[in-house]
Symmetry: C2
Subunit: 199 residues, 2 copies
Amino acid sequence: MGRRNEHTREELREIALQAAEHLVADHGLAGLSTRKVVGRIGYTVGSLYMVFRNLDDLIAQMNERTLEALQARLIAAIAGQPPAAAIRALAQAYITFALAETHRWLAIYQHRMPEGQPLPESFTAKVTGMFELVQQQLALLCPRRSPGEITLAARALWSGVHGICILGFDQKLEMAGGPPIQEVARSLLDHYLVGFTQP
Amino acid sequence: MGRRNEHTREELREIALQAAEHLVADHGLAGLSTRKVVGRIGYTVGSLYMVFRNLDDLIAQMNERTLEALQARLIAAIAGQPPAAAIRALAQAYITFALAETHRWLAIYQHRMPEGQPLPESFTAKVTGMFELVQQQLALLCPRRSPGEITLAARALWSGVHGICILGFDQKLEMAGGPPIQEVARSLLDHYLVGFTQP
DNA sequence: ACCTGAACACCGTTCAAGT
DNA sequence: ACCTGAACACCGTTCAAGT
């Protein structure tokens, strides 16, 4: 036993995160466990703790990678678009990602750090960065509005789109026969922006 | 052992649900377990399965009671209010409940039934009932709008308010220094309704 | 230094056995 | 009929021991 050195620390981290992502994509966050991760990569439980502080740390790092993928799609979606179209493109890209990567996207919000422990700063930084994409386009669209008003509107719209996705996937607000979430989001943006862009 | 008959089935169900509610209120859904529930009520694990199908069933029933409490507050909030004020009152009452009963309210959305298993019909019925409160007030406010438009608007607004609460409590969209969620919700409703009530 | 695997304290669920 | 408590298969985490 011991000392195999088939992988560097960084390689071990990478294959563990990939294994975790596969497990979550297939069975949701509840289907993830340390033992299943190491089972997939041919290591034993203990070795995970060489690379991650614990399971919560692994999940946080996995979710951070999901955020990176999401942000890349968002940035691609607004490329070259004027502000009004960009805001709609951001919402649609968010929904498209949530629809395509449902389990991985859900895991971002399902996971909660234990009581006192905060998320790593790099994590919150990525969330803030994504949020600023909306804020920038809103500021371009409504140059007369104060920074405070822009922040408020960005939060209202982004939270709104997120809520539409969350409740759309839960069985909680059963969508059977209801309007598709793209249309709900479009309604939210269109009507809100009418009110917000007016004098 | 066996055969104590200190409680009827219904009483056992009641004290178990109360114990579960206390555990969740104090430590969140993650702090709930069958063993902790029976520890609190002086029974052993096996006895839980006389009254609940499994832990998921217990949680679903607990969440249904939370929905009942929430709905009661919502109904009280709109009493005697004209439609426009009633819609704002619904949003504020939802936020107030989420702020006061954060863990129990979060548990409604954190819990997910295993793969195939759907939520009991009584559960989805209560969600639908709550949702219809919004729909009714919107229909009163905008009698010209078609039922389809009313449904779309109700879903957009209710999902929006929900998303504002969810992201407000997550560290995910860090609220530090940001506007309070009541104000974000007010912004969402005000601007949306300007656009929606216009010709 | 790297990795194992046993150990520990938990967990959900089942079920033979007791009253 | 009601309830127990042992049993089973899982889980996250730690750490002495091996190379």
